[in-house]
Symmetry: C2
Subunit: 228 residues, 2 copies
DNA sequence: TGTACATCAGTGAACGCGCGTTCACTGATGTAC
DNA sequence: TGTACATCAGTGAACGCGCGTTCACTGATGTAC
């Protein structure tokens, strides 16, 4: 079905993206330069414009693939612990997210940081961003009372973020939607707090093991939600 | 004591820093350009080299002043709530930190983000960074048992981060040092999780009030530490 | 109070560099008859 | 199987821009006697 030409195009696009990720690894998102990528591939600068409309287009594809890459990693972990308790699955997924972030710091920075002041993420990235957290949703639906989260759940019930309800119902069928959304945002901030600081190197020389901190944070989070 | 020439120097340095912060506000840290600052001040580019050795020197001073600016804001809040319970003080300080971050997003990005791939923060910034959290330390020393944090405290006892013990003893005299250090790192990650996501605009369109989330996170944090 | 000298803020030219992007083109690869 | 044509990857030159930093200099401000 795919013509040789198309196959070639796809391969070059892949090479471009690999070179781009290497550059981001070395010099941050700001260090991403089309000319430098071209040089690395042994090709003239303008040649890249046959594959990407401009720099931002390339960035967008990298970001989307970054989300999907993380989502895939989490999906594998989720499948492996399917039969365990919600609490155990939460720990497993949180650890998997941390591991992925440490092994792919350049990708993490691309997703978690402000990529660049002029760059505006296009709307189609939202679904991919959600994909990273999809596997957590069934866990957040489990569990008993969550009195402390009442206000947050109330706000989630009142808001209707486009597509959010669908997203929850697809990934955590039968669960209480506001509860899951409130849990998701709280979980996101906890994970982001621990992992982004570690990836940035902010914990260097503080003397603790970030994995211990993450376990502590997830355990108290599970307590808060009343997860079995 | 200060000569007119010195006063003039100080004033120009201040103007340079103000222009620099304005640029960071507009275009991120990557958008900080000495030439652009010079143009804004109506002066030639090389003139700035009479005031700062180079771009990184200017960045370092901005970062240090950023830490001090936040620390000062928190110190004012701490003074105003001195007589209240540890839990109430925790909420007040957390809110003050959030408010400062939202009102000074450019400064926050300077401190919390990776400023630039080539930039290396010099060691003298560490003390200033600690200053931001100094007012939290007495709060972390209060309270009862904290069984869940045993492992983290154990690690803090084993490590000796240079200057950390002094820092705690100066700001929370008589407190259990490992407990305070373990609490500090956990608190930091919680605050950073909520506030950095909000400042970056990541919460846009999710339907919740970030202040509610912060309150929830601080309340459960106080529970965890057994704060009265 | 006046003069000689030192300090130092600021200038303009220059260096070497890299950036994203456009444009008209060449030449190889693939397609249709 | 061979020929005519279309597609399209890649080139080199060019545009206009901005960057950090150095250097030798001018001219105003301050200091010492």
């Amino acid at each position: 079905m795919t013509t040789p030409r198309q196959r070639y195009r796809d391969q070059v696009r892949t090479e471009i993206k690999e070179a781009a990720l290497g550059q981001i690894r070395a010099g941050g998102v700001a260090g991403l330069s089309l000319n430098a990528i071209a040089k690395q591939l042994g090709v003239s600068g303008p040649a890249l414009y046959k594959y990407y409309r401009n720099r931002d287009d390339l960035l967008t594809e990298l970001i989307i693939e970054g989300y999907d890459h993380a989502a895939h990693h989490l999906a594998e972990t989720a499948a492996a612990v399917e039969t365990q308790t919600p609490r155990a699955r939460l720990h497993a997924l949180a650890t998997a997210y941390r591991t992925w972030s440490l092994e792919n710091p350049h990708r993490f920075q691309l997703l978690a940081g402000t990529p660049s002041p002029t760059y505006q993420a296009p709307p189609e990235t939202v679904d991919h961003a959600r994909g990273v957290f999809s596997r957590f949703l069934p866990i957040l639906g489990a569990g008993g009372d969550w009195p402390a989260g009442a206000t947050l759940q109330e706000q989630m019930r009142a808001a209707d973020s486009p597509g959010a309800v669908d997203w929850v119902e697809r990934n955590a069928p039968g669960a209480d939607v506001p509860r899951v959304l409130a849990g998701q945002v709280a979980l996101w901030s906890r994970l982001h707090g621990v992992i982004s600081l570690e990836v940035q190197g902010a914990f260097a020389g503080m003397g603790h093991d970030p994995a211990t901190l993450l376990t502590l944070e997830m355990d108290t989070f599970a307590d808060m939600l009343g997860l079995p």
